[in-house]
């Protein structure tokens, strides 16, 4: 062990929907850090709080779980933490959060943790709802029966921090109780296993030894010698993990329900309010309709409302860039700053409004209790495609931007369902594809109307449908290809509706934005700088020669200074590394109908799809990328140098459109996928798979149409 003094660590544990996270937010506020539990992408929230005696305490917010017998990845985290034999990972005490309106269901895990011998504090949540529903809990008696101190709190009239703090201080002074009577009495066979395990493995107590026997196959931190002695111990008796679990759970329920009956009184009727709302919100017709109306609102919010702050970000950076260009000498570092770093930063910050708005709405829906209903409504439909009811939210949000959509999949607890959702979300046409669609659709589709719908609108819709269709086909294929490790359940509690706590919502938004900027932002910035290098530098003095040529040409043709600058930019990019890459990939993209100029745009728009339009503007020496009409005009004029045929035929434009629908042309999304899957493997597969698919589809389109 290292010499540093260990910080005191308190575990915050409770059932799903127990109000645990709210207490965590109250205790730690902004002093929390979200990371991953080792090896998995389950949020690990750790916060710090200072006690009144100025002792620093670390609080870990564990995923909500019903029992130490886990069924999902995040529930396993809890079981693993309490089966950890390493002293360095020791937890000093537990604050157990239980919903006071469902006390008869929320104490199972409490009795298990109690039997592990930890000092515990019982925090009863939803105190306000309990009062409203006419529920009375005799706290004094409960405290006496369970042998722990009890505090009661609710979301709005926050419990005074002083009161919690002094309770925590008393909690930390408690020794581990080894003498208290456990809730569960072992069977003879269980005693045998426990004795055998304890002979070889140094466990905390008897109950922990029993848990090791149940979880020996998957516990991550067991050494092989320990694993084999546990295995031998279980082989001596007729060890039946599931049967024993059921026996234990039933006995525990019997035990604590006897206590709960003594202290718990309900006068009013329960749930009638939530039941009435659910008659509509989970209705097979109205429920679905309302869901899509809500999603339309979410879509509108990300798509349209985020536009204002996004424009502001772009304007500020554009202004900063001009200012710097005017004030700094015209050298490489000014260019790096104004054409590499600033656009990179802008490229990161421009997503912040979308991420903030999406998570504001998602957190609100989650807090209110609606999300569980959405899962209930769409679970079956999405199951066909290997996804989860929650995937619907990600797919719809993907229509605005894949980045917040992929970040929102954290709420899907099944790894396979979550992975499939992450992999197919980028097929949904995001807002960054729109500028590309606008330019190209206007180019190939006549402006006429059929009835009152324009042909161009139909083409737009076709492109969106192609993306959606591909997403579902890809999901179906992934479902068949990926091996399921876990047995998938629904078994989801539908919590009561309640007013959202704004502090909890705000913290979620803050945390999502922060993690995007710091983690994905880094990768985006590096790639933007690399792309800047490719577009600004060329081998030897080729770019200087090209620039001189352009200056001479401009003088010969008597061009205005603006036209001259545009011509120089076009000639420079042709001779830059990006131009060389464009020319190098020309043989590969030629069968799709693309020339090297489109190749350059494909390379540069890897930073973000909308860069395509800007690059085309530069290549065709049009100063402003705003002028879509001019770009179209130039595209129509563009001819192949060797054959004299027009470059942009119907076939080429459609081929390019199909390519943009299907290709993974977004480094930011890849950065987020890397972050969310915790490996380079999945973004690599996604990039290669989507690019190959886009290539083949474009090839087919071009060959059929030309």
């Amino acid at each position: 062990m290292t010499s540093t003094v260990q910080t005191t660590t308190i575990a915050l544990v409770g059932n799903p929907n127990s109000g645990k996270s709210s207490l965590f937010n109250q205790l730690t506020g902004l002093r929390q850090k979200v990371g991953n539990f080792p090896g998995v992408t389950v949020d690990r929230k750790v916060g710090k709080m200072k006690l009144s005696n100025s002792q620093d305490v670390q609080v870990i917010d564990f995923p909500g779980t019903y029992s130490l017998y886990p069924n999902s990845e995040d529930e396993r985290i809890v079981a693993a933490a309490f089966c950890d034999l390493d002293e360095a990972h020791r937890l000093d005490a537990i604050i157990y959060v239980a919903d006071s309106t469902h006390l008869e269901k929320h104490l199972l895990l409490f009795t298990q943790l109690h039997d592990l011998g930890y000092p515990m504090l019982l925090a009863l949540s939803m105190n306000d709802i309990a009062v409203r529903e006419g529920i009375a809990v005799d706290q004094e008696k409960l405290s006496e029966e369970l042998g722990v101190e009890i505090i009661a709190f609710d979301g709005r009239t926050a419990l005074a921090n002083a009161e919690i703090q002094s309770a925590i201080e008393r909690l930390l002074e408690q020794p581990e109780h080894t003498q208290q009577k456990p809730f569960y009495s072992f069977s003879e066979a269980e005693k045998e296993v426990i004795t055998a395990i304890k002979a070889d493995v140094n466990t905390k107590n008897d109950y922990q030894a029993l848990l090791l026997a149940h979880h020996q196959n998957w516990l991550p931190h067991l050494r092989e010698t320990q694993r084999s002695s546990i295995q031998q111990a279980t082989e001596k008796v007729d060890f039946q993990s599931l049967k024993w679990q059921i026996r234990e759970t039933m006995q525990r329920y019997d035990g604590f329900n006897t206590i709960v009956r003594k202290v718990f009184q309900r006068v009013g009727e329960d749930r009638t309010f939530s039941d009435r709302i659910d008659q509509i919100l989970t209705h097979r017709f109205w429920g679905v309709l309302i869901f899509f109306a809500l999603m339309l609102l979410v879509f509108q919010a990300i798509f349209a409302w985020a536009g204002y702050p996004q424009d502001a970000v772009e304007e500020v950076f554009g202004w900063a860039s001009t200012q710097l260009q005017d004030r700094l000498p015209d050298t490489w570092y000014t260019s790096l700053l104004t054409d590499g770093i600033l656009p990179g930063l802008a490229g990161v910050l421009v997503f912040v409004p979308q991420i903030a708005i999406l998570f504001l709405l998602i957190a609100l829906l989650e807090e209110v209790g609606y999300m569980a209903r959405a899962v209930f409504l769409f679970d079956r439909l999405m199951q066909h495609f290997g996804m989860n009811g929650r995937s619907v939210v990600a797919l719809i949000s993907g229509g605005a931007c894949a980045i917040p959509a992929i970040m929102s999949t954290r709420t899907i607890s099944d790894w396979k369902e979550r992975l499939i959702t992450i992999m197919v979300t980028p097929f949904i046409s995001c807002s960054a594809r729109i500028p590309v669609y606008v330019v190209l659709v206007a180019f190939v589709v006549p402006a006429g109307k059929v009835g009152f719908i324009s042909w161009q609108a139909l083409a737009f819709m076709g492109l969106y449908l192609l993306g959606i269709g591909t997403a579902f086909v890809a999901a179906w294929i992934l479902k068949k290809v990926l091996k399921a490790e876990s047995y998938s359940f629904l078994l989801l509690e539908l919590p009561k509706y309640r007013t959202p706590r704004l502090r909890d919502v705000a913290l979620t938004v803050w945390e999502k934005v922060k993690s995007f900027v710091t983690e994905a932002g880094r990768i985006i910035l590096i790639v933007s700088m690399a792309l800047w290098f490719l577009a600004s530098y060329g081998p030897g003095d080729k770019m200087e020669i090209a620039e001189q040529n352009a200056v001479e040409q401009a003088a010969e043709r008597n061009l205005s200074s603006e036209e001259r600058d545009n011509l120089i930019a076009a000639q420079r990019i042709e001779n830059s590394y990006a131009g060389i890459v464009g020319k190098a990939i020309e043989p590969v993209i030629r069968p799709l109908g693309f020339d090297w100029k489109i190749g350059i745009a494909l390379v540069t728009s890897f930073a973000a799809r909308e860069v395509f339009v800007g690059t085309m503007a530069t290549i065709y020496s049009i100063g402003s990328e705003e002028d879509e009409y001019k770009i179209q005009e130039q595209m129509a004029k563009e001819k192949h140098a060797d054959t004299g045929q027009p470059v942009y035929t119907m076939a080429v434009a459609w081929s390019l459109l199909i390519f943009y629908v299907l290709a993974m042309q977004c480094v930011s999304t890849l950065a987020v996928v890397k972050k969310e899957t915790n490996s380079w493997k999945w973004p690599a597969i996604q990039f290669i798979g989507m690019t190959i698919l886009a290539y083949l589809a474009s090839l087919l389109t071009y060959q059929i149409l030309s």
């Binding site: 069924n71 469902h102 269901k105 599931l242 059921i246 329920y253 097979r284 429920g287 679970d379 509690e493």
Partner: protein, 69 residues
């Protein structure tokens, strides 16, 4: 579990240990009264109520629940 919407029954036993262990953990065990409130659309899962608590379960999960006759 053969219930029509808004019908109640008393849970007798489970036919699948894995689902049994999960449901028991959530407080759904033999002897409790279970009410089927409604089905989800698209041939989806069941909205059930057990002791004032609403739980969503898939139809195949519900198949593992046997009720007292």
């Amino acid at each position: 579990m053969k219930l029509a919407p808004n019908e109640k029954g008393v849970l007798m036993e489970f036919t699948d240990d894995r689902i049994a262990s999960k449901l028991i953990t959530m407080g759904v065990f033999p002897g409790t009264t279970i009410e089927l409130v409604r089905y989800a659309p698209f041939k989806g899962g069941c909205y059930v109520k057990v002791d004032n608590r609403a739980i969503a379960i898939r139809r195949d999960e519900a198949q593992c629940i046997l009720l007292q006759a």
